[in-house]
């Protein structure tokens, strides 16, 4: 099924820049949504649907490209030649890395995003403030895709916080009752502490190796005492966000008090931090079966 040779040039452009477009499109759509919803409810729904379908198409193109060649793709953000990612053996620039597990998670996330959006069209029909809902929804999608496609540990922190802030705003959507606000407060405190632990671990790793790139850290890693502390901090932070058992108390309230479409999407947010845990343990610290 290798048919990439017959693509017209426009598809080649999209395939080459797909990793950056997959994060940039929902971000642009999120910031334009309050403006578009001034034109009315139908315009807003059509705009969000357009953004989600375009992002889904770009993620599908990226998945097709990565899975057909079988090799992970590195993409340097904002460069004239995005495939130049090392200079003299050192990784340079912020790098987005798409390999088979990333695109699998990205396809899953976009499918659930589309389904949650279509469900919320009818479910939240009678509510006001839907323009803010869809803005936060697209920001959550952007943060999720960023966390899945990143190759940089500090970008992981930034997209982690983007995901947790927008999903906390969505959990507290029903403003007339006190329980959603309480659930969102618990979720936000837990997520903020988890994000700060990730920042501590990134600082520890940077001060040892002077590299923030995950692939560069993996090749420079000597498993010293400070690296063990960084590993413990990262595992604790990502397990806090997954809702793993010692730290699961926020999940009961958050999943219960969120609107139904957001409960489904919140599961994908937890699985995204599980994916990040895999990435840290296996790619960054190089755990093997021996």
């Amino acid at each position: 099924m290798a048919h990439n040779r017959g693509h017209p040039a426009v598809i080649d452009f999209f395939v080459q820049h797909a990793p950056a477009l997959a994060i940039a499109l929902p971000l642009l759509g999120a910031f334009a949504t309050p403006l578009v919803s001034k034109l009315g409810g139908k315009a807003r729904d059509a705009w969000v649907l357009l953004i989600l379908v375009l992002t889904g198409a770009i993620v599908a193109l990226l998945a097709g490209d990565v899975l057909s060649t079988g090799a992970p793709r590195a993409y340097a953000v904002g460069a004239t030649l995005p495939s130049i990612t090392t200079q003299g053996g050192l990784p340079i620039r912020i790098i987005i890395e798409a390999d088979a597990m990333s695109v699998f998670m990205a396809i899953t996330a976009m499918t659930i995003a589309l389904l949650a959006f279509i469900y919320s069209l009818r479910f939240l029909q009678k509510h006001k403030g839907l323009d803010k809902f869809y803005t936060l929804f697209l920001l959550m999608t952007a943060g999720m895709l960023g966390m899945m496609l990143t190759g940089d540990i500090f970008s992981l922190f930034v997209f982690f916080e983007m995901l947790s802030i927008s999903s906390a705003g969505l959990i507290a959507f029903y403003l007339n009752r006190g329980e959603p606000a309480e659930a969102a407060f618990k979720y936000m405190v837990v997520s903020a502490i988890a994000g700060l632990f990730i920042l501590f671990a990134a600082g520890i790793l940077y001060s040892q190796y002077n590299i923030l790139n995950m692939a560069g850290l993996a090749s420079a890693m000597s498993f010293s005492q400070l690296d063990k502390i960084a590993l413990v901090l990262l595992v604790a932070a990502l397990a806090l966000k997954c809702g793993a058992v010692p730290m699961h108390m926020w999940a009961i309230d958050a999943y219960g008090e969120a609107p139904a479409a957001i409960s489904a999407f919140l599961v994908v947010a937890s699985q995204t931090s599980l994916y990040a845990l895999f990435r840290v343990c296996f790619s960054l610290f190089g755990a093997t079966a021996t």
Binding site: V158, E161, G178, E182, A184, M188, L199, G203, Y206, L212
Partner: protein
């Protein structure tokens, strides 16, 4: 002693976690998370410091040995993110106070 910033970071993280876990008032919990954020910023800037080096500005630099500039960029990003997180948590605290009638996390009484 040269390890003083890192000892301060450890103390601030301990105070922040104590405040976030043991306090009952919602605003005190938010302040605890904010203290942990400030500790992270201090850690990043102190990790980039070098003895006897100047600020990393090339124009009219007194010497060419400078502190690391990348942790300072990371700290700027972290300050902005912590601002957004604190604003979010405080708005949730206001909503809880409006609906529950008190900012105490143990009081579950809802106003009629």
């Amino acid at each position: 002693m040269s390890a003083l910033p890192f000892i301060a970071v450890a103390l601030m993280v301990a105070i922040g976690i104590y405040a976030a876990v043991m306090k009952r008032n919602l605003v005190k919990i938010v302040l605890g998370v904010n203290i942990i954020g400030s500790a992270a910023n201090l850690f990043l800037v102190a990790a980039g410091y070098r003895e006897g080096a100047v600020a990393p500005i090339f124009t009219a630099a007194p010497q060419l040995q400078m502190v690391l500039p990348t942790p300072q960029a990371l700290t700027l990003t972290s300050i902005v993110i912590n601002l957004a997180v604190t604003a979010m948590m405080l708005s949730f605290a206001i909503l809880i106070h409006k609906n529950y009638g008190s900012a105490d996390s143990q009081k579950r009484r809802l106003l009629e």
